[in-house]
Amino acid sequence: MPEPEALGTADWQALGTQVWLLVTDPGRLAEARRLLEADLDAVDRACSRFRPDSELMRLGAAAGPAGPASASPAGESPPGATPAGESTAQVSTTQLSPLLAEAIAVALRAARLTDGDVDPTVAGAMSALGYDRDFALLPDAGPPVRLTVRAVPGWRQVGLDEQSRVLTLPLGVNLDLGATAKAWAADRSAARLAGALGCGVLVGLGGDIAVAGPPPEGGWRIRVQDVTGRPEDPPPGPAAVVAIQGGGLATSSTTARRWRRGGDVLHHILDPRTGLPAAVYWRTVSVAAATCVDANTASTAAIIRGPQALDWLSNLGLPARLVDTAGNVRTVGGWPAEIR
């Protein structure tokens, strides 16, 4: 009997988070990494909220602060490019690259499916709370920020014609794709790498994991926990190991990406209805779905929905594991029992 083949593994930093790449054919690891690095670089250039040369940032600059209209970067508004909402605010129209158009389409779809819980128009609120640069560069503590309850502009203000790739955005509304872009990128790259290399691939971007291609025997073994870390390190808190054969698995947590401003401890999952960090009922939610971006959409919305998330996830039939602030674990949707 031949010796079982080990997985090829690599990890590095990109998109402001830890990248994990696993392939079932270690001989293809170098090529897989090269492909993934190129994919993530393209996503970063299109979608980053923190690099001034990204397409998204140029979009924000074009939209400018709220106020009188500035020149539309794309000139005239083309047919079909109308905002989805009812705002009569002055708008800018912009022709997008295919990549950014897809990323924004994914973000708007997440907003639609969660009734606005996962909303890409939180950028202004996020910056107002101090999260205005790559998280690694964000000071742990800083002076107080004024916590103002104010709903974000709302995803219905964003118009995207997917055919022409024209975005219509009210002036002063900026987008933050952080809630969905990494999961979407993981899906996209896992599928692309598996197709190109002909082997099983796992792409993990922070807590967002997508797998594609033939899985290893027994599936991809993934440990869900509060904060993403190295699998050989002990988990920081309640954890469970599950195996998936395909699709995606994502975890959202209020224990990660926290910072202090004055006496307030803030986290990165905002409730669009208040523009403030979501009230913490669940510290960590993990969801499995047919794609990583769907898993991530559901896990993020579950954090925001609090106790209502149990019924919501159950009705959707999504396997999920929810950990409350006291560390109690609830599972729904066929999430497997934990083996001690």
Partner: protein
Amino acid sequence: MNSSDPRTVTAVVKRERARSRLRAVTAGTGVLGLAVAGGLALTLPGAAHSTASTTGTSSGSSPGSSSAHSTSGKSAAGSSSSGTSSSSGSSSSSSGTGSSSSAPSSSSGSASATSGGS
């Protein structure tokens, strides 16, 4: 109201959150209706999720190292690609056909990766 008083701000925040929660509850039917109606788009694991084994599929094959997760390299079961890689931006129709492979099963083996907040 002295909005500069942090206690006042906290009270306002709490009140608004309570209202938001109430709105969320009263809107619950609509939310679920939308989600269920969009269920074909929101790629659900489908019926297969309820069959997620509690006995695990990988116990006994646990290697000691995170990178020594063994594989035969030829099993294609459940290997559906789930990427939303369309360049047309049509990811809203992401496939739900991979449902049978997306349900997790329990595992006693050591993990090859972790999923947590980041």
